[in-house]
Symmetry: C4
Amino acid sequence: MPELAEAREAIVAAGQRLDRFGWVPATAGNISVRLRDGTVAITRSGGHKGFLDADGVIRVGLDGRSLREGDRPSAETGLHCGIYRRFPEAGAVLHGHSVPVTVLSRLAGESIRLEGYELLKAFPGLATHAAAVELPVFDNDQDIGRLQDAVETRWGGAASVLPGYLLRGHGIYVWGADMPQALMRLEAVEFMLRCELEARRLS
Amino acid sequence: MPELAEAREAIVAAGQRLDRFGWVPATAGNISVRLRDGTVAITRSGGHKGFLDADGVIRVGLDGRSLREGDRPSAETGLHCGIYRRFPEAGAVLHGHSVPVTVLSRLAGESIRLEGYELLKAFPGLATHAAAVELPVFDNDQDIGRLQDAVETRWGGAASVLPGYLLRGHGIYVWGADMPQALMRLEAVEFMLRCELEARRLS
Amino acid sequence: MPELAEAREAIVAAGQRLDRFGWVPATAGNISVRLRDGTVAITRSGGHKGFLDADGVIRVGLDGRSLREGDRPSAETGLHCGIYRRFPEAGAVLHGHSVPVTVLSRLAGESIRLEGYELLKAFPGLATHAAAVELPVFDNDQDIGRLQDAVETRWGGAASVLPGYLLRGHGIYVWGADMPQALMRLEAVEFMLRCELEARRLS
Amino acid sequence: MPELAEAREAIVAAGQRLDRFGWVPATAGNISVRLRDGTVAITRSGGHKGFLDADGVIRVGLDGRSLREGDRPSAETGLHCGIYRRFPEAGAVLHGHSVPVTVLSRLAGESIRLEGYELLKAFPGLATHAAAVELPVFDNDQDIGRLQDAVETRWGGAASVLPGYLLRGHGIYVWGADMPQALMRLEAVEFMLRCELEARRLS
């Protein structure tokens, strides 16, 4: 688990990479890392995640509240902290907006099925391409507390939960043990969703 | 409101970002900022907006006329100044050309409807994704004065006007209180229009 | 008209920009500039046009023959020189390969019609978007002399010829008075062809 | 044939270029070079191929086994070494994942036919666009030994074999005499497959 300074660097760098892909348009998206002391470093509300500086990253408690007066954390901080509370092994959370995520989530029901892709191996417990995953899709909701409840209901008490989900017409949440793993999983899902979108156009 | 030197930097940087996205191809597009003294800094006619230097930005009055002999402002200066005159809160105007804007505007009638997108929150007065906006589309016209009249007629005397519109087969105009807000709104609209284009292909 | 050193810089920079767009894949494409002494600076055969250095640019006469023993000019030098001989005002020629050019030229007959685009103003004599241009398409041919004959036959003795044409399944040739104008025209045509490709998918 | 240090530089640079195109997402893909002493430099298992440093490249024998205790070579090392053993002229092998490769291989039977493209000239023995190539497609398989057997069966004892093949839903393998030639061939195939994908959408 990193200290705040190291976490800030990782978040700033992640924001640049996500921006290169066009996944944090128009100040959308947010990025967080769990710190050694159990609190969370997360992007501040409103800034463009592609051009973060150290000031653009603040600390919040596991309850989502900022730890310094005047700091306004990202609007969806509750979703990040919900992931950290439920999954002790989660060390970094990425939230981005991509065109495939936005378009496919609007067409989907409760989940999007991905199968037959080599990149499915990016998910824990899937050492082969012959498996399939169901990527959960939730209706968007401006009430973050209510949205987090819906997410936790879907997770239930399962021992093993897929480290990602989609918000309809909004974006994707992906997490991992650390930033490199979270980035790797996000790249894998975005790649597979781009393939899905292309394949559907051919029907 | 910035002074000329600061405005020039903002315009040069905005041009580079728009060029990175492919939104200012072939010397098309133009960018302006309202200055502290009430005049307007705007890109000079004809240069490539992706490679501007300080010389590529000149000053015009609110009537669109250049303030220095020999300076030729962007052809569409009248549209920028029309926005600054009508909306005192407007501090920066961006005009770009993208493939989704060009293709969708040619297929559209008087407007393009955007709904259900989280990024609609980029527009003033829309704090939820559950709203819809109608993005006005105007027929292209080489007579800028006549075009500006058509735009003002559509705006009418409304208290609240969407800070953007499309010119058919040509491009998009978006504005904001300052350059970061204008850039953010342009990114948001371009993202949603990319989603619209992708979604239509799946029909 | 530039000297060799200046022309080399312009060609190297143009190659980098074309590579950024993906328009010079796999050592394909070539770039030339007319020099002050009437000879032509052109990319050497075989190198990747995205990573040129000064050595990658050699001199040929207007007849297409290299002026230094051992220099192998680009395979399609005859097409570049054919343009320079026919059009005294031509100062730079760009040849690239893009996906829209390749796909649309394979579906086209003798030409591709572009109309209603603001960017048509990039072509000489077209000050309005209300015009239309017919972009000539020629069957590909490994015999460059025969191909140049076909091109000259289509040009005929017309006073005004569109400064560009397509080779089926191969690529595009565009020229201008200098490198900035050639680059501007190439960007404009590539943009419009991307729009055409997107629009056709919606049918 | 290079020494290890030179091979490492070539592999690191190739990884950056492939990452720029989005061809090595999520730690997928792998890159190798045959060394002067007959062994092979190959990317280590698990790292992101877009951000390699010298440590990310290790040495293996022609049998695929790492030459230093503790080094874990890329999972698909057996496929790289199978190419080096069968083709003495092969000096570099690239394995990437692209959206066109993934989507088209899932729709294909035993091969994908490419014809009429100028870029077919990137393949040995094809000096004209009028030829056609059949790009082999193999079912994906986590058992690399079994997969290599299937590949060698398809190659048979033919004097001339196309320097590339696809793994269904997985990715592409391409090789050449050295890294520049391997990169050039990969760019050519990826370009033609992007054209194929676009063309199929228009049907």
